[in-house]
């Protein structure tokens, strides 16, 4: 699944993350809804690909199962 952040960029340059979305269509729908709000008329929006997930730091399943036996 694609993972995309939507960022809101305010006129002063402040960047605020709206959320994490799982398709470009969903991200664009949210942006359209936000752009329809009069108070946000001056804001810009960008879609940014989320960084690939880092490897897990949790104990592997086998280790947990072994400890459980």
């Amino acid at each position: 699944m694609e993972k995309l952040y939507v960022n809101e960029i305010r006129p002063g340059g402040e960047v605020s993350t709206v959320g994490l979305f799982y398709s470009r269509a969903e991200a664009k729908t949210i942006i359209a809804k936000l752009q329809s709000i009069p108070e946000k008329a001056d804001c810009r929006y960008e879609i940014v690909e989320a960084a690939a997930a880092l490897p897990s730091t949790n104990p592997p399943k086998q280790k947990r199962e072994a400890a459980n036996e």
Partner: protein, 290 residues
Amino acid sequence: MADPVLASMVRAQGMENARHYMAATPKVQAYRDSWVKLAPYRDGPVNPQRLDVSDPAEMAQRVKAKALELGATMVGICRLQPHMIDLGEDVPHEFVIVACVAEDYEKVIHGANAVEEEAMRTYAKCTEIATELGAYVRNLGYPARAHHNGGSEVQAIPIFYQVGFGELGRHGSLINEKYGASFRPGFVTTDLPLAEDQPREFGVQDFCMNCNVCQLNCPGDAIPKEHVMTHGIKRWIIDLEKCYPYSRLRDEYCHLCVDVCPYNVKSHPETYKAFMKERKQVGYKTPKSW
């Protein structure tokens, strides 16, 4: 199914619905039915004889006392702001009252079925409280609408924050200093003049930066290490694609991120320590100080 991520995962697995929703026990199903039955009573006729409110602080105390009498654990009030309303919805009210019911921590730590039942019990109770409280306010002569699992147009977390229940934690839920994130809400929006509560910060966001216990105990590895900023507030955005296989696509609920949070220690010190000792024995991380 309203959640597009869940819907697409269910489709990809060739399922008709998430297993979590199909596998409800009779008790859980009864709780779910209760909010469906109360949905038509979210709104209703307003008493034409309006009570004059000269002291919003006194009225806020009265409303809070009523919510506590109905069974709420915590009650808060704030002005309803645009970011608290679902995108595309219109809620024509000035204030929002939030009534929360705490989950019984002694119950939720006993596995997924226990969590499911306790979560649904508290949601059902919140639905009752919000419905009754809405009717109470309308009887005072002011419009009021209940928001709960049977229908809602408001966003929980910004309201929790604004009324001072706590701060956003790493696991994506708001953390209260006494109940952790183990509580569920019901809401009433209204024009009844009420004194507002204020946000209250007590170091949760800084604590979460160093704690990581929820992240390291998540069976789906769905809680991120890194945060993003939204209007000056740190948010650790949960990866739903990783969370849902554990919390929605199975027969049972997952609640571990909430259960392992050290903020539970205040309300249940012995139970929390015993629970975390068991987790440690099977290879999971416990708070640094132990």
